[in-house]
């Protein structure tokens, strides 16, 4: 295990940056089972971090902590240098978007799904100007003609793009994605990953993504964190972690993943 994030260099074209999130000795228990066991990890601001590891490693549990869908049993999560619990939770969630594995569509059209986001803020939250619908449709690479389609009737890949567009409505600084391509065909998945890559390039959004498709993690991410059994095995730049991992366990996992990805 290594303590901090190794500064990543010119090979991926970003400056060594501060942390968007830093987890210190975070433990998470669910129904008496330990899902995260003393996790310390730094997630780079402005980066595209892939959270990888076998199923049951705690990837989704970790991601859910970052938008406070859950709180850790012990340990501290920092967001931009301050404890996450110091931020008013609803305001923080508007800065840290979350895209779920299975997109849950709201009633009505795609435009309804997007417009409702603006109605969710109230006096308690400082009103944030929400992005125009046309703009987020463009960023999510959904055609303008999608606005009037019924959300429930869309395909899996289209729904996931609507979920992405919806998360962009609050103008987030960070976007968390929990296996967004898990339910999609490889081709559709690849297309969505291209969209995410372009999105980050054009907006400077910090992205953190849980994925079980190592190929997409490898080609999209700037940073990677390898988790297993609730512990961080290795973290660093993607270039290093995928090509030249330090830990034997990471090497095995990446090698096995490359084999299985050939079937995709």
């Amino acid at each position: 295990m290594n303590g901090g994030l190794t500064p990543v260099g010119a090979d991926i074209g970003i400056e060594p940056s501060t942390d968007a999130f830093a987890l210190e000795n975070v433990t998470q228990e669910r129904g008496g089972r330990v899902v995260l066991a003393g996790v310390t990890v730094h997630l780079a601001k402005g980066g595209f971090t892939a959270l990888i590891g076998p199923s049951g490693a705690g990837k989704t549990s970790l991601l859910r902590l970052l938008n406070r869908l859950d709180d850790p049993t012990s340990g501290v999560v920092h967001f931009l240098g301050r404890p996450l619990i110091d931020y008013p939770v609803r305001e923080m969630r508007r800065r840290v978007g979350f895209v779920f594995q299975t997109p849950a569509m709201f009633p009505g059209t795609v435009a309804d799904n997007l417009a409702v986001v603006a109605t969710l803020s109230d006096k308690a939250t400082a009103p944030r100007t929400s992005a125009p619908i046309a703009e987020v449709l463009r960023l999510a690479e959904l055609g303008a003609d999608f606005a009037d389609r019924t959300a429930a009737d869309l395909s899996g890949g289209e729904k996931q793009r609507v979920a992405l567009a919806r998360a962009l409505m609050t103008g987030p600084e960070v976007l968390l994605l929990d296996e967004p391509t898990a339910a999609l065909d490889p081709e559709v998945a690849e297309h969505l990953m291209d969209t995410l890559r372009r999105l980050r390039e054009s907006t400077g959004l910090t992205i953190m993504m849980v994925t079980h498709r190592l190929s997409e993690a490898r080609y999209s991410s700037t940073h990677a964190v390898m988790l297993e059994a609730g512990r961080v095995i290795e973290q660093g730049s993607s270039a290093q972690l995928f090509s030249n991992p330090v830990e034997a366990r990471t090497r095995e996992f990446v090698a096995a993943g490359n084999d299985s990805n050939n079937h995709d």
Binding site: R30, G31, N67, R68, L69, D70, D71, I85, V89, R90, E91, R93, R94, G97, F98, F100, T102, P103, A104, F106, P107, V117, L120, S121, D122, A124, T125, A163, R166, A167, M169, T170
Partner: protein, 266 residues
């Protein structure tokens, strides 16, 4: 205009009990195996109703407001147990639901009863058990069903809607906003039987109270007016109780930090 009701003595009651033998005979003939249940049910009905008859005689005789209120509370408590006993979601969920159910039934029923008793009928003295007990009985019978329907539907909507609720929360919604749809559906589900009853009263069903009043010698027009008071009363009480349950019960699904709590162990 009022003629006294025909008295039912023990002889008449014995003759009426022969009717239950019809059901028992049919059960034996069709091999339904219901004879035992029918006998037990008939005996229970006789004992329970006879007992409550004597309780009412005593209650009307003592004429003490605290005894009347005590009986009303006991009725509420019994209704709460009946409404929560078969709720889904496990023992922990039922325990969480019980105080919510008790309070909602009590408040919804008592507010309605107070309005009817004080403003509409002008019962004197205010605690007159001859009015309060039967009126409250009818109200609680309805609010109990409304409460059970509201709680059950909310529980299933909240579980089925977890993904959507969390999607709303992740966008910065309040728990109230995130669960608006489950709450709306649960309240509607609780109100539907009452609305159906309003639609068919007098056509499909002649309500028991009105029938009883007519049998006891009241003018049908008076019985009808009483019955209208009752259906309006039941509608308000059910709406109040269902709303109370839904608004309060759904809060128990969230933490103070607007997080949806994990599923309770069933």
């Amino acid at each position: 205009m009022t003629e006294p009701a025909v008295d039912i003595g023990w002889v008449q009651l014995t003759l009426a009990s022969a009717l239950i033998l019809v059901a028992i005979a049919l059960s034996a003939w069709q091999r339904l195996g219901l004879a035992r249940s029918l006998v037990i049910g008939a005996v229970r009905a006789v004992i329970q109703l006879t007992f409550i008859g004597y309780v009412l005689v005593w209650l009307f005789g003592t004429n003490r407001w605290y005894f009347v209120l005590g009986v009303l509370l006991l009725m509420t408590l019994t209704a709460t147990i009946a409404a929560t006993d078969r709720q889904p979601g496990g023992a922990q969920a039922r325990r969480r639901l019980r105080p919510i159910c008790f309070t909602s039934i009590l408040v919804g029923s008592a507010l309605t009863l107070a309005y009817v008793g004080v403003v509409v009928v002008d019962v004197t003295p205010w605690y007159n058990p001859r009015y309060l007990i039967p009126l409250f009985g009818m109200i609680v019978g309805n609010t109990m069903n409304g409460a059970a329907l509201a709680a059950e539907r909310l529980q299933s909507e909240m579980e089925a809607g977890r993904a959507q609720i969390e999607a709303y929360l992740a966008l910065g919604a309040t728990p109230k906003q995130a669960s608006a749809e489950p709450a709306r559906r649960a309240t509607v589900a609780a109100m539907i039987p009452t609305i159906n009853a309003l639609a068919v009263v007098g056509i499909v069903s002649l309500p028991g109270m009105m029938t009883g009043q007519i049998l006891a010698g009241s003018a049908p027009t008076l019985a009808v007016r009483y019955q209208l008071v009752v259906v309006f009363m039941l509608t308000a009480a059910t709406a109040l109780t269902a709303t109370g349950i839904v608004l309060w019960y759904r809060r128990t699904y969230f933490t103070a930090a607007a997080q949806l709590l994990p599923r309770l162990p069933v």
